[in-house]
């Protein structure tokens, strides 16, 4: 009986995580929203273009790991958000908890302030969902 409840609860969390990603995807210019686990595997993703999820997951962990090291080296404590500004858009990375990351990919149409604002707002919701995951 308790197992059935756990599965239901997990299903609910998956739906909620998916809803958060869907809301992020509704922002102007956002082309992909993904959750990457500590091993660099994409566990949840919403996207509107073909994307190599394995490469994305690994890159997210490598880039965020490097940024965290840089932050430590300059005594800035933990890295909160990493923004990669590219020729055709941005990639934003933010830690949720225990090495799990949220990654957003945008095109150059996106308003960085809006995406960053919503990213910061999404993190506490995702943190709560992953605590019960």
């Amino acid at each position: 009986m308790s197992n059935v409840t756990a599965i239901d609860s997990r299903k609910k969390s998956v739906d909620e995580i998916d809803r958060v990603l869907r809301n992020l995807m509704n922002l102007q210019g956002v082309t992909a929203a993904a959750i990457v686990d500590r091993d660099g595997l994409v566990t949840h993703i919403r996207r509107n273009f073909e994307i190599n999820t394995d490469a994305l997951g690994v890159s997210v962990q490598i880039v965020f790991g490097a940024a965290s090291k840089a932050a430590t080296h300059v005594n800035h404590r933990a890295a909160d958000i990493v923004i990669c500004e590219n020729d055709d858009g941005y990639v934003l990375l933010a830690p949720i908890m225990s090495g799990i990351m949220l990654s957003l990919v945008t095109d150059d149409d996106a308003l960085l302030g809006r995406v960053r604002f919503e990213l910061k707002e999404a993190i506490p919701s995702l943190k709560r969902l992953f605590l019960n995951y």
Binding site: L112, G113, F117
Partner: protein, 145 residues
């Protein structure tokens, strides 16, 4: 009531509702907070797009922590503008400590050619760009058609 003032009042109310939701933010209020945020930001976006339709207004943006969150009109150097808005408000806030101004609500920077009015709205700052000659009070008094 002055059209822009009424819009600001409505936005302040929405910002207050959103802030309240954030304070009591817990599992039960996730959806409520999300809705309050969406309504607030959508209204900011609508106001920015409406203001720019007024005569003599060249651009309007909303900034958050030095980044631009919503924009309308012809604006060059968007990143620089976002940073400038944040810096200007921070400097004004520091002036508050000397002059006991209270929390900074508005800031007006007038140049030889253009001017920018910055209005604080909770965590967000609205900036309205126009030429120096524009009478902003008159210009913002009526809703654009």
């Amino acid at each position: 009531m002055h059209w822009f003032d009424s819009q600001l009042k409505a936005l302040h109310r929405l910002a207050g509702i959103y802030e309240e939701c954030r304070i009591k933010d817990s599992n039960e209020f996730v959806e409520e907070t999300r809705q309050a945020r969406t309504i607030f930001i959508d209204n900011v976006q609508t106001l920015v797009e409406t203001v720019v339709k007024l005569p003599d207004i060249s651009g309007c943006v909303a900034g958050h922590e030095g980044f631009i969150l919503a924009k309308a009109g012809s604006i060059s150097g968007l990143d620089a503008l976002g940073a400038m808005i944040q810096e200007s408000m921070d400097i004004a806030q520091r002036g508050n400590e000397i002059l006991d101004l209270g929390t900074i609500q508005q800031l007006l920077v007038i140049g030889e050619n253009n001017k920018v009015a910055m209005i604080s709205m909770g965590a967000i700052t609205l900036a309205i760009l126009s030429s120096t000659q524009t009478n902003l009070t008159k210009c913002l008094s009526k809703k654009p058609r």
